[in-house]
């Protein structure tokens, strides 16, 4: 047998049973000695670059100038052309994420600009914040800043983006068999915490070696905009059903004002799910506490609620987990660094204005308060911090408008909140918002928005956001209804135009309308379907585990326009529900249209939709999934099997899957 035949035979053996695992273990035990002397051909190193700024040697020293090669990344960073060599001024470097960047208030009104103004002219603030910054990038920037920018102090203002992405993939079958769900969560939290501490310690040690003090600023979360998901952990058919029954009953009790009953049911849910993977019980308890004006307790419970979905990595919610908060505080204390917790700062605030622009980004007032705390810590003894004036009105409008667009596909109450802010500020902007929300093309193609970009510099962040991609805005659940509610009966022209646009752009005509496209399946911040509803290029980057729609809730909503008779085609399956006395229900605008049998393999059905159930404007299609029938041992086996294949285990139940969902004009 020659070497090629032997290799082929080895491949055949490895392909069987535990072959991959055997080879993996041989690697781990270093039984396979890998030649590290292989030829490596390296390219010459380029000049140092800090973020988007590259070094340029000039007579007066090294300047860091924005790189034209990285032009496409500029919008994620501060709008600063260059950092000059250090002068006689005290130099503060700020490294942070989107909260530190300023979001839609940037570039006119950013935390760093506010801080610089507060600290006065003898201090300069270098803004190295970037949207979506992760901790390893912050660590790299910390080292680069220490090496090249000669800071007197470095401020790290981040913690929201340090999630557990990737940790769950490292689970092995043994992990799962050995641990309960609660222990599994705890072990992953410990792993994340260790990782964060290691990186933070590196940051602190590097700064200490250069005798540069650090200040950590821990971000705060807006609990007012937090609403838990419907997700309950997958506990097996009996317990999962019980969990959902109790959840439904608890919601009803809360709506009826029966807080006592609601609390009882929520505690029952906690008994079932252990509070390890689902935040719903804590969310209900928190709302009850808030209703009883016990705000401190409410916040603790809200925090437990979002901490409970720690392992639901598909929820793209930037939030500073309790373990992150603890890690920052303890590393700061251990390494002698100062630390400001914005929770304490905001708790003591007497401001009547909202401190948040959305779920985590700060409002003008929030930025002022946060930076005031930072400035007081950094200011020279005896120096008062300079008060900062409000930004121009146009900046506030740009912020409200950007936030309304960004949040337009979120649940009605969140959209309504942002529209109300916009309407209070500048009601004349609502018609443009509606036009964009119902548009056909991407944001950047809209004439009015283009004119706005050309005329008003305050919109520069939104402008970069818009031109950077072909993103369309997903249809909100009830765009026209919310707009009418905000505008009142006197402004029918704007809603009328939006209704016309909805029909023109989102009604099926010659070709069927694909309701699984990101335009028609709701982008809901707190829903696991998030990945599905992202525009395709983003979805591709995030690599979802399946390329079809999976519902992690008992029902799936979709929106579309159309007032003529339609034909709906649905290809679905219910992988964990056996056929029986349950049905998949399809309803339009709460009018039941069909009851379909559960099916563990794909099944296609066609449903005629008469005109009389359709609305002028938007229609709401709801698919209600049947109860799960897979028992606990089946669930355990499915999870273990997935982990054996290197796949993320399903911790949340899949109620139903949709491969195709279209509406077309009915022929008959």
């Amino acid at each position: 047998m020659d070497s090629k035949q032997k290799a082929a035979q080895l491949a055949t053996l490895l392909a069987k049973g535990e072959g991959k695992q055997i080879l993996s273990l041989m690697f781990d035990l270093k039984l396979l000695d890998v030649d590290t002397t292989q030829a490596i051909h390296t390219l010459p190193e380029s000049q140092p670059t800090i973020g988007i700024w590259e070094a340029q040697q000039r007579p007066d020293g090294v300047h860091f100038v924005r790189s034209q090669k990285l032009r496409h990344e500029w919008s994620g960073w501060a709008d600063i052309e260059e950092f000059h060599p250090k002068s006689g001024k005290r130099r503060v470097v700020v490294i942070g994420e989107s909260v530190a960047h300023g979001w839609f208030l940037a570039p006119a009104f950013t935390p760093c600009k506010v801080l610089a103004q507060m600290l006065g002219e003898d201090t300069e603030v270098l803004d190295l914040s970037r949207i979506n910054m992760a901790l390893p990038q912050a660590m790299q920037l910390n080292s680069l800043a220490l090496e090249h920018l000669a800071p007197d102090v470095i401020v790290h203002f981040s913690g929201n983006n340090w999630g557990p992405l990737g940790l769950i993939q490292s689970l092995s079958r043994e992990d799962y068999v050995e641990f309960t769900l609660e222990k599994l969560v705890e072990s992953r939290k410990a792993e994340l915490s260790t990782l964060i501490r290691t990186l933070l310690e590196n940051i602190a040690a590097t700064a200490k070696a250069k005798n540069v003090p650090l200040l950590f600023v821990i971000p705060e979360f807006n609990f007012g905009e937090w609403k838990d998901t419907w997700y309950g952990p997958w506990l097996g058919a009996g317990k999962t059903s019980q969990w959902y029954e109790k959840r439904t009953a608890a919601e009803a009790a809360f709506e009826a004002g029966d807080l006592h009953r609601c609390i009882g049911l929520a505690n029952d849910m906690l008994v079932l799910d252990g509070g390890a993977l689902g935040g719903a019980a804590y969310d209900l308890l928190a709302r009850c506490s808030r209703a009883k004006s016990n705000l401190r307790e409410a916040r603790e419970l809200f925090e437990r609620s979002w901490d409970a979905i720690f392992l639901n990595s598909s929820i793209p919610l930037a939030r500073c987990l309790p373990s992150n908060r603890e890690a920052i505080a303890s590393v700061a204390a251990a390494s002698g660094c100062q630390c400001i917790d914005l929770r304490d700062v905001f708790d003591q605030a007497e401001s009547q204005s909202p401190l948040f622009a959305d779920y985590c980004h700060l409002s003008v007032e929030g930025i002022r308060l946060a930076m005031s705390a930072v400035a007081k810590t950094l200011a020279k003894p005896g120096r008062d911090c300079t008060p900062v004036s409000a930004p121009p009105h146009a900046v506030e409008i740009a912020n409200s408008f950007g936030l309304a667009l960004q949040n337009s596909a979120l649940p009605d109450e969140i959209l309504a909140r942002h529209l109300r802010v916009l309407a209070d500020d500048s009601p004349e902007w609502i018609p443009l918002f509606l036009e964009l929300a119902a548009a056909s093309g991407p944001l950047w193609m809209n004439r009015k928005l283009r004119c706005l970009f050309e005329q008003e510099k305050a919109f520069s962040y939104l402008r970069n956001f818009a031109y950077g991609s072909d993103w369309n805005i997903a249809l909100s659940q009830n765009l026209i209804g919310v707009a009418k509610q905000i505008l009142g009966p006197d402004n029918q022209e704007a809603t009328g135009t939006a209704t016309m646009l909805l029909h023109r752009n989102h009604e099926p005509r010659d070709q069927p309308l694909d309701l699984l496209s990101s335009r028609y399946s709701f982008l809901s911040l707190q829903e696991r379907e998030f990945l599905w509803t992202m525009p395709e290029p983003v979805r591709n980057l995030l690599l979802p585990s399946s390329n079809f729609y999976r519902s992690y809730k008992p029902e799936s909503p979709f929106a579309f326009a159309g007032s003529k008779p339609l034909c709906l085609s649905l290809t679905y399956r219910t992988p964990h529900t056996a056929p029986g006395d349950t049905w998949v229900e399809v309803s339009i605008n709460q009018d039941k249209q069909a009851c379909l049998p559960p099916s563990t393999s794909w099944r296609t059905c066609t449903i005629s939709i008469p005109a009389d159930v359709l609305n002028v404007g938007q229609n709401w299609l709801r698919i209600g999934w049947p109860k799960l029938t897979a028992e606990e041992d089946t669930v355990l086996k499915l999870r273990a099997d997935r982990m054996q294949c290197g796949l993320t285990p399903e911790l949340y139940p899949v109620f139903g899957e949709i491969h195709s969902l279209t509406v077309r004009v009915s022929n008959s």
Partner: protein, 588 residues
Amino acid sequence: MRGSSYVIGISAFFHDSSCCLLRDGVLVAAASEERFTRIKHDGSLPVNAFRYCLREGDININDLSCIGYYEEPVKKLGRQLWMGLPGIPASRLHDTSWFDVHRPEREIINQLGIECPLHFFGHHASHAASAFFFSGFPEAAIMTVDGVGEWSTTAYWKGGGSTMSLLEEVDFPDSLGLLYSAVTGYLGFEVNEGEYKVMGLAPYGQPRYMDKISSLIANGKDGSFQLDMKYFDFLRGDRMHSDAMDELFGQPARLRDSEIDSFHYDVAASLQKTLEEILLQKVQYLFERSPSENLCMAGGVALNCVANSRLLKEGPFQRLFVQPASSDAGGALGAAALAHIANGGTMPVQSLPHVYLGRSSPVAEIHNALSESAIPYLNFEGKTTELIEAVVDRLAAGKVIGWFQGRDEFGPRALGSRSILADPRPEHMRDHVNALVKLREGFRPFAPAVPESSAADHFDIDHPSRFMLETCQVTSSLSMPAITHVDGSARVQTVDPQISPRFHALLEAFGRRTGCPVLLNTSFNVRGEPIVSTFMEALRCLIRTEIDSLVLEDFLLDRESIPTDWFCIREVTAPSVRGVGEYAYTFF
């Protein structure tokens, strides 16, 4: 719909992943994943192309009869293991996914939701089937040549009816594709991407280094050949060629983007000529093993259109069919055909009339988006003749046109669906299009498109050449420097009025106006990016380049009508992401 057999073919997890759909053995749709993800040569599972194929076929996933996958993972792993564990790149030491032979099956089932049977076929069998079953030949000899699949790098086949039989094959590491790629890397171009450039560079040089190239490969008198591995590093390093190749040629490898001089031209010419000579001998050998009038070819090396022309002119076969998407993308076609046969079907004798197998943009959608933008544009709905005349006005005035019509092409060539068009006669046009429109190297020639009926008046060609897969001499009395290569050759596309009526009408109208029924036709993209697929991508390409006018189906936009603010798209657009490596061939 009931009663028909629907079969999906998939190629994935290496480079140029793609998906196609056959209905009763007839090709309905085919698309590469890169057109959806905008990642050049994207090798990921073609989830978007798969969805597109179902949509285009107007079917659902439960209508599928079976799936064909273009490779045999266990055999491929055997080859990878033979290469030796030391060959694993350092970055992959702790990543065991490369020897996970179940990955294709698992991902196809889990990610695509497949429930029907899944069949695996050999890489070269898929290439061979992709050529033979879509050639229109009832019987043929088949040659497949590429870098490597599982073990094979070159294979000789005989095809007839719905069957193919393997006659002989050459195994890794002896590979004509890897030879070409290694010298491509030595010449400072990207492996798996720059081979076209080397082919385009060759006519500028003289084959002075044939003897040196002959040191790299020993050609057998039968179907075999052998690489001298001391000149190659692809088994162990992160580079294709070894230092010994530098010593052999007496010069270090050219650095990327550095100056190209006569030495590089001559090496390219020598490599190209060596390849042609070897292929001619192999084709002769194949003819002896499998006498036929017809030859089918596929595999990455079959995209070498200069070699193809010599095989047809100087080789023993009367007719040649090269599968237009001959790289790994085309493997999906063959896998689908073989799966259809494995499922009890027979393949109809079908010639591939065109490659307009990708997605289109609905006219109403384009119209709505343009209306919302309120930019000036011309609407020619229902007025095709007027549209053609308006485009001819611009072409005759020396303008460069972005031409977006119907479904996009499957394969690397733009053939009048996603094309950039220009007058081939002005002296400056080649440099202008290379520099300002395509943003690429100046030496690269452009291809001409000509109505089939006029082709012989301007080119030394006596048969249709619809897929731009062969070259011929320019014989026209017209001077057309933009499409005439330095050796007087051109990579011509002949256009059939039945297949591409609007593109054909444009060529005819341009001919009537100017006396020149030929247009420069190049792919609608900029350097390093996939060809545009949607109208929005075409519009963004117009903004990012110096294209003068854009035709989007029935609508025409001139550059002057683009709002100033839109030009900031140039600033905020990220450079294209690459799906494959730089200097190294991606074995893992």
